[in-house]
């Protein structure tokens, strides 16, 4: 590659120097940038569904056998949990993408750009909504032929609640990446250590009925428990206190995540 290979064409006069942009514009840009590789290469989203499908296919017969209920009834209880689990896998690991960008240098470049620190965090976190909803719809589509019957309005609201939760969780995952910097094992160590206890305590795989008292207390502190309960209630078409508690837990997670995340982004250099 010599200088001769790169003909220098006379470039036209440069455009007017940078103009101010709104926060909404910035968030949109960051959101679009994050989403683009997923849209162009949807394999990652499809691949993410395979594992939960295994859970659905292998775990449901076990649950049917142990509870003695019908497959349809079991799916009614289990599918909302699988949808939440699926979103957890994707969102909690999203910080790893940022870690790669921190290593290669593109994160640093965005820090020098006029994009505000909060838009860098919010735009990224909002992107989590898209794979969450797509994957949830695939799971629903797979389960319906086996007797799963979601309440449509409930499903829509349930996915909205889940999306809000995922924005918060995604922001926390990014905050973790920013905190441990380029230390990959630290990121995965913390993520794995937290994810599985949270999942089990939320009663995603097995109901916590009849659990010892300390487990029940731990489960009550876990915000994910409320989100899972809300999904089950909403998808069954039950509009009760569970749905409200889940929406509140999701909103709190979202606010805490974005505040912590934006703070971590501001401290990033």
């Amino acid at each position: 590659m010599t200088a001769l290979d790169t003909p220098t064409r006379t470039t036209s006069a440069p455009p007017a120097t940078s103009r101010p942009t709104s926060q909404l514009h910035n968030i949109g840009l960051v959101f679009g940038r994050e989403l683009r590789p997923v849209v162009r290469d949807p394999f990652s989203v499809v691949f993410g569904i395979i594992q939960p499908l295994f859970f659905l296919g292998l775990f449901t017969p076990l649950l049917v056998a142990s509870s003695g209920q019908s497959t349809a009834d079991t799916l009614q209880w289990f599918v909302p949990g699988v949808i939440v689990m699926l979103s957890l896998f994707g969102t909690s690991t999203t910080g790893a993408n940022l870690q790669v960008e921190m290593q290669t240098g593109s994160h640093e470049r965005t820090l020098v750009s006029p994009l505000s620190r909060s838009s860098l965090m919010i735009g990224r976190a909002l992107k989590e909504i898209v794979p969450t909803i797509v994957q949830a719809l695939v799971i629903v589509g797979v389960a319906v032929p086996f007797g799963f019957r979601p309440d449509v309005a409930g499903l829509v609201v349930g996915l909205a609640v889940l999306s809000v939760f995922c924005v918060g969780l995604g922001a926390l995952s990014y905050a973790l990446a920013l905190a441990v910097k380029e230390n990959q094992w630290a990121f995965w160590g913390v993520q794995q250590t937290l994810l599985f206890p949270l999942m089990l305590l939320a009663g995603i795989l097995l109901p916590l009925t009849g659990a010892p008292g300390w487990l029940e207390v731990a489960s009550k502190i876990n915000p994910l428990t409320y989100v899972v309960d809300a999904e089950r209630a909403l998808i069954a078409g039950t509009w009760d206190g569970d749905a409200v508690a889940g929406a509140v837990a999701a909103a709190l997670t979202c606010v805490v995540g974005l505040v912590v995340g934006a703070k971590a982004m501001r401290a990033s250099s």
Binding site: T17, G105, V112, S113
Partner: protein, 334 residues
């Protein structure tokens, strides 16, 4: 364009405080092309990171493009372009997408950003790579994409941090050409850090030598060389006695010169040496000690660095790596 007063950056690692930049005073006017030269760990990258708002100064102040780097962060960011040590474009993104998004972040419309991106890709020989993913590009192509990313909004002030590290000589020449081009066409101010002497020498009109977080010299490459390291006139003689005699005569004739005698060889290091060769040879020939061979070498910036700090820039790199204090600085600053 840039003005710093007592700019200082300290890093804490454990209980130790390492001062990477110590009270830096620097003035750069619009249109200048300045190289910050120094070994790794000298504080030049830390300086650049403070000027580009990536790091907050511990004390002192800096105004960049008319705005304070602390209170006017956002305005500084809008006014500058930055090409860092890493790759500016995300590896999973497509080349054209990254350029357009980056342009729009500076307020260009989608159409403006697209036009500008196409122009840059064309002029950087990346036209065929526009729809490729960044991770599929070669190292040289990625570096050229970095340049395009840094220029997408046609900044009036461009910072480059070790722009040619890891590039082969051809790509290095290519990059230098684009930087020169940017200035010629847009009259941009350019500030770069480097530890390549040749690069500083060939690109910059002004070199700021930084060592241990301080400016140790600040001048044009030519002036630095003639002031801090003269031309070297290397002569050999038919024998030791001739050489000894010649060395004595040279010393007497040019008291300012540094004369070294080594067997039958004599080195005369003196400012403007090239202009003195003729007279020196005539004088020696008249005295009956005509040199057998004569070679005149222009001083390099390495000679300048050696004269200023007592260390060679090249050796300096290995020395600094083994010094735990400086290693900490580098790690923290990295």
């Amino acid at each position: 364009m840039i003005e710093t007063r007592g700019l200082t950056k300290e890093f804490r690692s454990g209980k130790k405080t390492v001062t990477a930049v110590k009270g830096l005073d620097l003035q750069i006017t619009a249109g200048e092309m300045v190289a910050l030269l120094g070994p790794n760990g000298a504080g030049k990258s830390t300086t650049l990171r403070m000027l580009t708002t990536l790091l907050a100064p511990t004390s002192g102040s800096a105004r960049v493009a008319g705005f304070d780097v602390t209170s006017g962060q956002h305005a500084v960011r809008r006014a500058i372009g930055y090409i860092g040590q890493g790759n500016s474009a995300g590896h999973s993104q497509r080349v054209i997408d990254e350029l357009v998004v980056s342009g729009r972040a500076y307020g260009l419309s989608r159409a403006e950003a697209r036009t500008r991106a196409d122009e840059l890709l064309d002029s950087l020989g990346l036209g065929d790579q526009a729809t490729q993913k960044v991770m599929t590009l070669s190292g040289g192509q990625r570096r050229r994409l970095d340049i395009a990313m840094g220029l997408i909004h046609s900044p009036g002030l461009l910072f480059l941090d070790e722009p040619s590290t890891g590039l082969d000589p051809q790509n290095r020449a290519n990059l230098q050409e684009h930087v020169v081009d940017l200035r010629r066409k847009h009259g941009a101010t350019v500030v770069l850090t480097t530890h390549y002497l040749e690069e500083a020498d060939s690109l910059a009109e002004r070199i700021v030598v930084i060592d241990n977080g301080k400016v140790v010299a600040d001048d044009s490459p030519t002036a630095l060389k003639s002031r801090h390291a003269g031309d070297r006139i290397a002569m050999t003689f038919s024998g030791r006695d001739h050489a000894t005699h010649a060395a004595q005569r040279a010393s007497a004739a040019h008291p300012a010169a540094q004369v070294t005698l080594d067997g039958a060889a004599v080195d005369v290091q003196v400012a403007g040496g090239a202009g003195l060769v003729s007279a020196l040879i005539t004088d020696l020939t008249a005295a009956g000690v005509a040199p057998a061979t004569v070679e005149v070498a222009r001083p390099t910036l390495d000679d300048v660095f050696l004269a200023l700090t007592g260390r060679s820039l090249r050796e300096g790199r290995t020395e600094l790596r083994t010094d735990p204090t400086n290693r900490t600085t580098e790690e923290v600053a990295a």
